[in-house]
């Protein structure tokens, strides 16, 4: 069966510090990968998606970037965090051409 892992679960970072969140998927190959953010107010917003290694599409311009160095690895990064980057970040995957998405456990980021 497929599993998705995300870490860390919780992170507190000072303003201006770098960020690296990692997500890996097991049990499948060539998945589509996604980063979503959930800010206060509960809504989930798609930030980035990737259909293959090195292929990144951004949905919302922001202070963040994403990379996919390996088939089942997706990384969310920032060079300098802003207070507004605080939130709950969720990684997700779907099959190529699939119609259902599955989410990781999430990372709660607080920028102080």
């Amino acid at each position: 069966s497929q599993t998705i892992h995300q870490w860390p679960a919780t992170l507190v970072q000072p303003v201006g510090s770098p960020l690296s969140l990692e997500c890996t998927v097991e049990g499948t190959s060539n998945p589509n990968l996604y980063w979503y953010r959930q800010a206060a107010g509960r809504g989930l917003q798609l930030l980035f998606y990737s259909v293959g290694i090195g292929q990144i599409s951004s949905e919302v311009p922001q202070n963040l970037s994403a990379s996919r160095p390996q088939d089942r690895q997706f990384i969310l990064s920032s060079k300098k965090l802003l207070l507004s980057d605080s939130g709950f970040y969720l990684c997700a995957w779907s099959r190529q051409g699939g119609t259902e998405a599955f989410f990781g456990q999430g990372t709660r980021l607080t920028v102080v």
Partner: protein, 111 residues
């Protein structure tokens, strides 16, 4: 893009009560999913239901794609049902599958 409206935004139930959560869509429903976000934040897949009705234990869901809405029924609610329920409409394009979410229904089940 498609707009997803969920109602009610908040719901408080006595344990054992039944409830109906609703999602309305501004455009065609393609690949609808219902999720439960538990107190730890994880999104748990409940149903993939682009049309028709499905049941899983005390939960069932119905999507009427032609009328652009979906319903989630919770029967005999338990305190463990508390959390936020999201619906999302998935669109496939450029090789990916992207979900547009509603703002969720926050359910609180009290003993």
């Amino acid at each position: 893009g498609i707009q997803v409206e969920q109602s009610p935004p908040d719901l408080i139930l006595q344990e054992g009560a039944n409830s109906t959560l609703r999602c309305n869509f501004s455009d065609s429903v393609n690949n609808l999913q219902w999720f439960h976000q538990n107190p730890w934040g994880q999104l748990i897949n409940l149903f993939y239901i682009p049309s028709g009705t499905k049941q899983n234990g005390r939960l069932s869901a119905t999507t009427v794609a032609t009328e652009r809405y979906s319903l989630l029924y919770i029967s005999s609610s338990q305190t463990t049902d508390s959390g936020v329920y999201f619906c999302g409409n998935g669109n496939s394009g450029a090789g990916s599958y992207q979900l547009t979410f509603g703002k969720g229904t926050k359910l609180s089940v009290i003993p």
